[in-house]
Each structure stands twice: as structure tokens, then as C-alpha cells.
């Protein structure tokens, strides 16, 4: 009866390890608990003891290979060496080489396809090979949807189609952080035909996905809420909108008020405008406010640099210019970098309340939502007020609860009484 040697749980959030060295060779006798193999993770190096006594019948993963938790490392056989090989748990393993003693059915006259270094595309099917060669594609850049991650003809056809239809990317290839207001149109994972449809992830989407997860996995992220009565802002807008547009050549929107209110609050609560860099907290004395803009390729967040120096008109102009550039695909990398705080408006889509994801490495993001008239109690009476829920997602490692709540209250106060913006209160 044979025993499997599997990679044990290695620790919180540690998912893989590298095989550093085998202490025993195939065929050696081993005792229970005798150290068999050394595994290294980015947190710790461990020696794996033998789960049973017997003979090290098979080494499935060689030195230098990377394995996932629970992957099959090898087999311990009975003392007489008779071993029934268990099949490695297919879906979970990332092992690049197939288990060594795999019967080659006949000595193939043509050399066996070289085990490719990228997992899964060891042998390309004839149709796939033809398409790849004819189109000069790199198989290691195509992710396979076939069995065990193999590239199938459909995968290559999809790549060719995407290439043919590819417009120059609206947003540059540099990592673009996107707050949670973006609805990931998820492609359900597929098997065959009918009930599902496989759509290859674009590079942009992949990058966005990675950044979102990084933000979630790094920050101690949570969200606090408040609500703001936008009556005063709306009154100012309706009173002066024509004059504003006449003088400044740009419409007076809500965003400029929000940016100003946020800057006021950020000045009072510096932690929300700061970031963690290694062991240090970096407080910034300038306010680069990122404003999320929707395009048909996804959400992008251009940054208003030194927004503290911009007037309301200046803010509106800059936002408009960015919006146009985003739609035209003219945003530069520089436009998207350097933000210290982000504002995202899910209200344009109808969202009433949400929990935005931080735009790493920033420590705070304000979520604006739909302005909805609600019955509110004002001076003991019920009135219809134009209300908006505000959300502040923040990194609790650097911003504490009191600061986060106070920040939102300050934003609310500035918006409900815009005179405070004028008086810098």
C-alpha cells in the first residue's frame, strides 16, 4: 500500500513553495518522520517529514520546481518497493513536468515535443501549431482553455480576432488603478458550447484586476458612510450657472464642489491624504485628486494635480479636458499617476450606496452617489431634501476610525454650507 507525499498547509496566505532539496533519493528506505524534502516559501523554509515508513518510490517534483499547497511531491511505497501510483490531483497542481515514470507508448521516431516551460501547452495540436506558425504568434502568450490549460484552436482564433480588431489602447499599458465603481463584466468560465461563452481578458482588464486585488490584499480596507444635503450646492448652481458658463466657458458641475470640499477635509485630516511606504507614513502637502471617468473600455482615473491651487472653474475645465482625452484615447501615463486621493461617482449609474475599493497606494477614496430626494427632518419639520449618501473607504492601517468619520463630516459640512469653502472653515 502506498502513501502520497503532499505539500502541507504552509501558513496564512502562503500558497506555493519551491522545492529546495530532496534529502532522499528514489529507492532509498525511509522511516516515519524522517526529513524527506526541503520546501521554501517567501515566509519560511520547512523540512517535510515522511508520512510513512517504506521506500521513497517516486519523486514527482524535482528540485527547483514550484508547487502549490496540497500538490503531490512523491510516493512512499511498501518496503518491497511495490507501489500503486496515485494520480496527482489534476486541477490543483502547477507542476511543470509530468510525473517521471510515464510510459511512453512507443519510441517515437520524431522527438517528443519538448516540455514547454509554460505550464500546459506542452504539445500543441496540429490546428493550433499551424495557426501559430502562420501568424507568428508566441504560444506562451496565449492562455489555453483546453484540458489542463492546453491551447485549443478556438483560443488562437480569438487572439487573431482580437489582434485584427484591436484599436490602440485608450489607456496606456501602465498599471491603472480603478476604484470599485467599475462593474467588472465577468466572463463566466466555460467548458463546451451552448451554455457558456469564453471571452479572453484584455490586458487592461487583467491589469485592473490585479491592481484591485493588490489594494484589497494590502490595505486594512473598510468603509464609513454619511449623507449630505446638496440643497445649498444646487441652489448656488442654479443661481449662477449661466453667469459661470459665460465667464469661464465651462459648466459648473458638482465635481468642483466635491473636490474643494475634499481638499478642505484633507487639510484637516492629513492621514487620509497620506500613504504607507514600507515602514514609513508619508504625509503629503499637496493634493492630487483623482477623478474617476467612465469610458467604453473601462474606468480610468486621471489626476488633478495640485488641485488645491485650482479654482472651481479650473477644476471643471481640467475634468472636462480629461474626459475628452479619455474618450479619444489620448490620456498619457502622467495623467494617471501621482494621485493622493480619489473621488468616484457611482451616482451617474444610479448607485445609492457603495463601498469603493482604494486606488492603491492611496489611503482614502470618496464615493459619490445618486442624488435622491428624501423626506428629512429639518428644524423639527419634514421636508423634501436632495440627499446623497457619501462613502469613504479608507486604509485603517494609517487612518483611524475617528479620523475617517471626521473627514466625512467635514466634507458634508462644506457641501451643506458652501460658505465654509469660501471662508476656509
Amino acid at each position: 500500500m502506498s502513501t502520497e507525499i503532499r505539500v502541507p498547509t504552509l501558513g496564512e496566505s502562503v500558497t506555493e513553495a519551491e522545492v529546495i532539496q530532496w534529502f532522499k533519493q528514489a529507492g532509498d528506505a525511509v522511516a516515519v518522520d524522517e526529513p524527506l524534502v526541503e520546501l521554501e516559501t517567501d515566509k519560511v523554509t520547512i523540512e517535510l517529514p515522511s508520512p510513512a515508513a517504506g521506500v521513497l518510490a517516486e519523486i514527482t517534483v524535482e528540485t527547483g520546481e514550484t508547487v502549490e499547497v496540497d500538490a503531490l511531491l512523491g510516493m512512499i511505497g511498501d518496503g518491497d518497493g511495490a507501489v500503486v501510483k496515485a494520480k496527482p490531483a489534476a486541477a490543483k497542481e502547477e507542476v511543470k513536468a509530468e510525473p517521471a515514470p510515464k510510459a511512453e507508448p512507443e519510441p517515437a521516431p520524431a522527438p517528443a515535443p519538448a516540455a514547454a516551460s509554460d505550464g500546459g501547452s506542452e504539445a500543441l495540436s496540429p490546428a493550433v501549431k499551424k495557426l501559430i506558425d502562420e501568424n507568428g504568434l508566441d504560444p506562451s502568450m496565449i492562455s489555453g482553455s483546453g484540458k489542463d490549460g492546453r491551447i485549443v484552436k478556438g483560443d488562437v482564433l480569438a487572439v487573431l480576432e482580437a489582434k485584427g480588431a484591436a484599436a490602440p489602447a485608450a489607456a496606456p499599458a501602465a498599471p491603472i488603478a480603478v476604484p470599485a465603481a467599475a462593474k467588472p463584466a465577468s466572463a463566466p468560465s466555460v467548458d463546451q458550447g451552448a451554455r457558456e461563452e469564453r471571452v479572453r481578458m484584455t490586458r487592461l482588464r487583467k491589469t485592473i484586476a490585479t491592481r484591485l486585488k493588490e489594494a484589497q490584499n494590502t490595505a486594512a480596507m473598510l468603509t464609513t458612510f454619511n449623507e449630505v444635503d446638496l440643497g445649498a450646492v444646487m441652489a448656488a448652481r442654479s443661481q449662477y450657472k449661466e453667469l459661470f458658463e459665460k465667464k469661464h466657458g465651462v459648466r459648473l458641475g458638482f465635481m468642483s464642489f466635491f473636490v474643494k470640499a475634499c481638499i478642505t477635509a484633507l487639510k484637516d485630516i492629513p492621514a487620509v491624504n497620506a500613504e504607507i511606504d514600507g515602514d514609513e507614513l508619508v504625509y503629503k502637502n499637496f493634493y492630487n485628486i483623482g477623478v474617476a471617468v467612465g469610458t467604453d473600455k473601462g474606468l480610468v482615473v486621471p489626476v488633478l494635480k495640485d488641485a488645491q491651487d485650482l479654482s472651481l472653474a479650473g477644476i471643471e475645465k481640467a475634468i472636462n479636458a480629461y474626459g475628452q482625452a479619455a474618450r479619444d484615447g489620448n490620456l498619457k501615463i502622467d495623467d494617471l499617476q501621482g494621485g493622493t486621493f480619489t473621488i468616484s461617482n457611482g451616482g451617474v449609474y444610479g448607485s445609492l450606496m457603495s463601498t469603493p475599493i482604494l486606488n492603491a497606494p492611496q489611503s482614502g477614496i470618496l464615493g459619490m452617489h445618486k442624488i435622491q430626494e428624501r423626506p428629512m427632518v429639518v428644524n423639527g419639520e419634514i421636508q423634501v431634501r436632495p440627499m446623497m449618501y457619501l462613502a469613504l473607504s479608507y486604509d485603517h492601517r494609517i487612518v483611524d476610525g475617528k479620523e475617517a468619520v471626521t473627514f466625512l463630516v467635514r466634507v458634508k459640512e462644506c457641501l451643506e454650507d458652501p460658505q465654509r469653502l469660501l471662508l476656509d472653515l
Binding site: M1, V84, A86, K130, K153, G154
Partner: protein, 467 residues
Amino acid sequence: MSDTFDLIVIGAGPGGYECAIRASQLGMSVACVEKRDALGGTCLNVGCIPSKALLHASELFAETDHFEKMGINVGKPKLDLKVMQSFKQQAIDGNTQGIEFLFKKNKIEWVKGTGTLKGAGEVEVALTEGGLRTLKASDIVLATGSDVAQLPGIDVDEKQIVSSTGALELEKVPGKLVVVGGGVIGLELGSVWNRLGSDVTVVEFLPAILPGMDGEVAKTFQRILKKQKFSLKLGSKVTGVEKSGKGLKVSIEPAKGGDTEVLDADVVLVCIGRVAYTEGLGLDKAGVEVDERGRIKVDAHLKTNVDGVHAIGDAITGPMLAHKAMEEGVVLAERLAGQMPHMNYDVIPGVVYTQPEVASVGRTEEELKEAGIEYRAGKFPFTANGRAKANQQTDGFVKILADKKTDKVLGVHIIGTQAGEMIHEAVTVMEFGGAAEDIARTCHAHPTLSEAVKEAALAVDGRPLHM
């Protein structure tokens, strides 16, 4: 002799015995409860195996019709049915004894008797030799299979009115055989007796034989059966069977109702389907849920609603095929051992072992159309295949259905000699998500019937070479 095991399997048919053997290979102690005096279940004893033996023997008997044109002069062969039946019995014994040997080799204890679930972890066996024995295990697999579906109002006596079981045992070739049910079993057994000299009439409720098969395949096969002198009454139902002297009178009428027609018969074979068999298991008392068709309810992991109780094969939902049960048995054993195998229900082949054979895997054209999936079809007849022509066995064709955009193979249907063997190339390609072009660009030996599969793949692209 212990009464406690890691696993108890109730039923030693294909599903049960494979589950038991795999579990034992993975280190579990296994007991298998089987009340028949031989292992192998329906398949080995009264199903797949005996029918294949008779099909093979009767096929060779009928082949002699073609000997003269090949210059082999033996005259008309004489049938000794008794000897043919003992040939069949040898197939059964060889196979069932083989399973017994495998049980011994894998140290699986065969507990002879009827097993009843006494709740999670406990099975009480009413032993064949008398007495009761209680077995305990942390996991129990119900693999009790299926039984013949009864036609209301018609009593099967296994002598004149027979089920598939009786049809395999007939001691005389019936002059007239009426087969009720035009599915796989009816056509196979009908073929056996047709070749040995019976006049066979098949009565089928639906408008086509082999319900569920690709429509084009069913139509082609119908024509072939008619050439083989089968009489087909489609869209008809049987309203009664009466004794008339030494024979029987079968009343049939159109499925929607209409005039009655009466058929004479010496033997009537009732094979309208099979139903899950769970008698004596005590499912009620044990609280195991069954569905409206009496099948044991299981989740995606083959678990019932009772912890530690699982079920596979004909006793649960899904195609009633031995190999489906076998796959489930193996997958379940591996899961119980902590592994994570998968079972792909979309790529299970089905075979009709007539001559020519019919084999298919994946979707039919009708299913693809209904699902709104755009596809291309590539068809290649055996009349254009060198080997088939050389052997003068040119009935049938290969049809491959591939996704219009990705060329992924979605279904393959074959009528022809050896279709049941040829289909596996398609199953393998589909298991790997391969494209029709992949089949077309794979070297196939010449001259083989399998070249027709390659040509059909080329035909998907509109460019067969031999047509």
C-alpha cells in the same frame, strides 16, 4: 472476519464493482453486497455481455450469406441454438468469474445477500445462506442499478412474453417476434433473432427508432433495418397482448389513437426502458430521498441527502449506461480517498451493437439547433472509404459537428461496422477540447475504416479528399 469496513458497496454491477476495486486500490477496506449468485450485475449476467455474445454469434451466422460471392462454398449453415446458448453462457461465466478473481486479488469481501440501509454507516444483510449480518462503514455506496420497466396491462412471463432477460434465454428461434420498444435493447435483441430466422416487427411509440439519437442517423439506420427485413411500426402503441392458441395476438394502434391492427407473434419482447431499482434498500426508513422516477437523489458529488451515503449508476439520474456507472464508481472512490477527480458527462459515448453499429458522442444536430449554437457538419459515407469498399461493408457514414467559430468538435455520430470502436477517437479529441481540424491533421492508417473519421473532419471544412 470483521464487520467494519471503510466502504460498503451495495450492488456488484459495473458501477459497484469498479467502485469497490478502485477504493481497494486506494487503500480502503471494502465489502460488496450482492444477492445474485454471480458478480457483474445486469451487465454481465443478463445484459451487455450475453447480448454481445449472441450478437457476435448470430452476426457470423448471417455473414455466411455473403460467403458465396467471396468464393467460400459452405452451403446454408445449420443453427444449433443450444450450443450457441452455451457459447453465450461461457461469455457470462468467463466475465463473472473474472470479477470474482479481481475481488479476491483486491481483498474485497463479497457478502452474499440482500443489503438494507439501517441508517448512516450501517447495512444489514439478509444472507443468501440464511441469517443476518450487520456491516458498518463510514461510507456506503448504493449501486443497485435498474430493472426492466413494465408495460401496464402486459404480464411478462419470460417464456412467451419476455423482457430482455427472457429474450436472451429463448430455447427456440421464434417464428414471429414482436418487439415492443424501438430503443437500443429492442433493436439489438431483435437483430439477434432476425439473423437466426425470425420475422421481426418493432413497435415504437415515438415517430423514430432510437429516441435521442441524431435524426439523420436514426433515419439512415431505419432504412438499413428495413433492408434487413425488419418491419417497423413507428408512432404506434401496444394496447394488449392475448394468448391465441400456441401463439400471441398483439393489438397495436397509432399513438394518437385510431384503428387497431393485430399482429401475430410467437414471442413478444417488452423493452420500453428501464427503471431505477432500489427495492429492499430501506431508503424510506433510512431517510434517503428519491425523485419522482424512483431514482436516488444525489448532488454533484454523488452524495445523497444522508451523510456518508452515496449513489451511482442506473440507480441515479443520467444515461443508463454501464460505462457511465463505471466512471462514477471510480470517481466516487477517488473522492472518498481525498482526491479530486472530475467526470465529464458531456463526453460519454453511446453504442448500439447491431450490424452496422451505431455510435455517438456529444450533441446531435437537433440539440445544437435547439440551443441556438452555430455549427458546421462534415459527413463522409463509407461507400467512399477504401477499406469498407474492399470488405463490401459500405453501409453508413461518419458525421462530425463542429462549432462554427472555434471549430471545436461538439458531436460525432457514426453508423458503420466497428463504429463502437471508432468512436473513441472522437471521445478523446472532445475530452481535450480539440478541433475538427485537429482530427483532419492527424495521421490515420490506410486502409482503415477510421480514415472516414478523418475525411469527415475534412468535410467540416468542405474539403474531403476522397469524395
